[in-house]
Symmetry: C2
Subunit: 407 residues, 2 copies
Amino acid sequence: MSQEYFPLEPLSVIEYVKQLDAVQSIFSADEDLTAEEIGDGNLNLVFKIRAKADPKRTVVVKQSLPYMRLVGDEWPLPIERARIEAQALEIEARLCPEHTPHVYHFDPVMYAIVMQNLDNHIIMRKGLSAGVQYPHFADHIGKFLAKTLGYTSDLVLDYRTKKEQVGRFINPELCKITEDLVFTEPYRPTERNAFHPAIEPQVLAMQANTAVHVEVAKMKEKFMTQAQALVHGDLHTGSIMINHNETVVIDPEFAFYGPMGFDIGAVIGNLLLSYASHETRTKDPIQQADFRRYLTESIIRLWKVFEQEFQAIWDHVDAINMPKGYQADYMLRLLQDAAGMGGCKMLRRVVGLAGVSDLRGIEDDTDRATAESLALNIGQTLLLKHSQINTIEALVELAVGCRPTYG
Amino acid sequence: MSQEYFPLEPLSVIEYVKQLDAVQSIFSADEDLTAEEIGDGNLNLVFKIRAKADPKRTVVVKQSLPYMRLVGDEWPLPIERARIEAQALEIEARLCPEHTPHVYHFDPVMYAIVMQNLDNHIIMRKGLSAGVQYPHFADHIGKFLAKTLGYTSDLVLDYRTKKEQVGRFINPELCKITEDLVFTEPYRPTERNAFHPAIEPQVLAMQANTAVHVEVAKMKEKFMTQAQALVHGDLHTGSIMINHNETVVIDPEFAFYGPMGFDIGAVIGNLLLSYASHETRTKDPIQQADFRRYLTESIIRLWKVFEQEFQAIWDHVDAINMPKGYQADYMLRLLQDAAGMGGCKMLRRVVGLAGVSDLRGIEDDTDRATAESLALNIGQTLLLKHSQINTIEALVELAVGCRPTYG
């Protein structure tokens, strides 16, 4: 870390932005700017910068801190993650610009990214909690997944570029967070685990279930060894900025070469967390059924769009090397990986250190426990049965068939 | 490549060795040395250096050339492979010194490794062709595989070291050779393929078999994506120096983070190439049965020793993270990977660019075609049935059940 690095503050970030050539098309040199620190994430400083005269002219500055913001400097984190994020955004923008925030500037000394302020978008998780349906989401995210995963894999890249990319995106510390929080801690008693006391019997039963440990171990092994594609690595609904027309994926600082199923599963698992939350979030049965239908249809649709977009890749591979039978096997393995890893992503949000507002934001205590109980059952079912799932409809059916144990 | 690099010759290599501190315990400063170029490999210069007064005082100097020696400078190869080899030897020596050549010196400018001259050993492939049995081989290689693979994997290394090692051993050009010669070219008509004309119908049938292409594609995908352990990457019987008491694995310039099954399969596949060659190499049926029993028992024994040595790793993993059921599944997948990849390693030696002397050294034309026909059938059977193999005995039974189509 250079001596020149310092953490930005609302005043210094304005000075910082003003001297950047890259934003001269947005702000004129002498005009007044405002800055507001809005980082609600766990890891970074995030500022919204606006022209006082015209708040629609705006950028975001995201700066890495050398420790985890949520916990403090006793949890150091490599500041390098800003470089990983900037490089991942660059690749995503090339492959799928319509769903990637525009980056104006990356500063490798300040570990700061100056990028598009998604001012007309909200964090998808919040929208889903409020029961808002996004009609184009499934199409957008299915395409984003196919483009960013397929086109960074060996199916498209030449052998040398792929292997060089693997090296550039080695991301040990952030992978370790996932290895611990998603694939290890929820399955054993640890101090960092937090869960609703009412579902303790269910949690203990899961932690005592050897079959769960076997399947988690297989998923963790894949996460740690399968350098299949440049994955986002943290693609939950809190990393998606959305409105009725647009879907933008942010925050790829966890990016590394890993299994495609991890990203696909993250999206599906987080839609199912919302599904579980509406067990009690929505009291009206018709509204509930309607929103849940939206969620399950979105899961089916995003997978179909993913498959369809991926077909363009299969159409260009050498059919002797990769005949149809191999292609079908590959897609089936992706679906099963997504189910198993998506299950793990759900479980860690019910049992682990970092919860999600979909569930933990439910005010009534019994309602919260009921929804969390359902989320745990769905996650566990997907994890245990992932290798028997043959279609996206079967995945949804398994999830929809679950009931809360509590409540 | 530095300006100071130059390819060594018998005269210059003596001057070169004399100025090295690292060999002063072997040669005194003024004594006369002899040098002989013995590189019979495809990629490098190899010299044996001896003290004239006492030829038992000796070292080997192995130097990388910036192109493939076999083909010439129209096939450039990264000279960096000497660094990969030296670093892999260093790790292997730490984990399994008794089966790794001692390295005195690595020169990163000359891309030269000065190492133990295995003067009392022969290349195992030659011994096997002559029908020599090595009683300790299976124990030695089983241990070597368990130590070098297990202890470089996530099962033992901490998360950061493992991922740093993956980066250090990214080896695109040499992996590409394997991707092409082992996993692509044998399965289609290409100019570089060479095979005995008598088995052409068999070769064409294999190349027309879609099931073969599907299984090869799965094996190639694993080779290209599964960063499981630091594999040797070229562990055929030509990379093993042996005598009745000692077994030493040389030449890890293809090393990279890949699937363990690739190394295990390379050993098994090459023992089965020898097995196939003795279909006609040994005319006396009793001798033939005896030597083949030695080969098949060695395969079974090396896997059992591998399992047993690997158990020491399982005994130290966290049993909650990796319960017995997962451990058993892991070992089974290794066996099946070894069968599938071992099958590919056999097929490339029958159909591909680089043959092996076990088969191509059989003088009689019909005898050679018969043995190659059998090798092709064994390789194809292992490849097609690898996912149904549950024990090492079942693998051997499948191989032994094959017959030559020709002859």
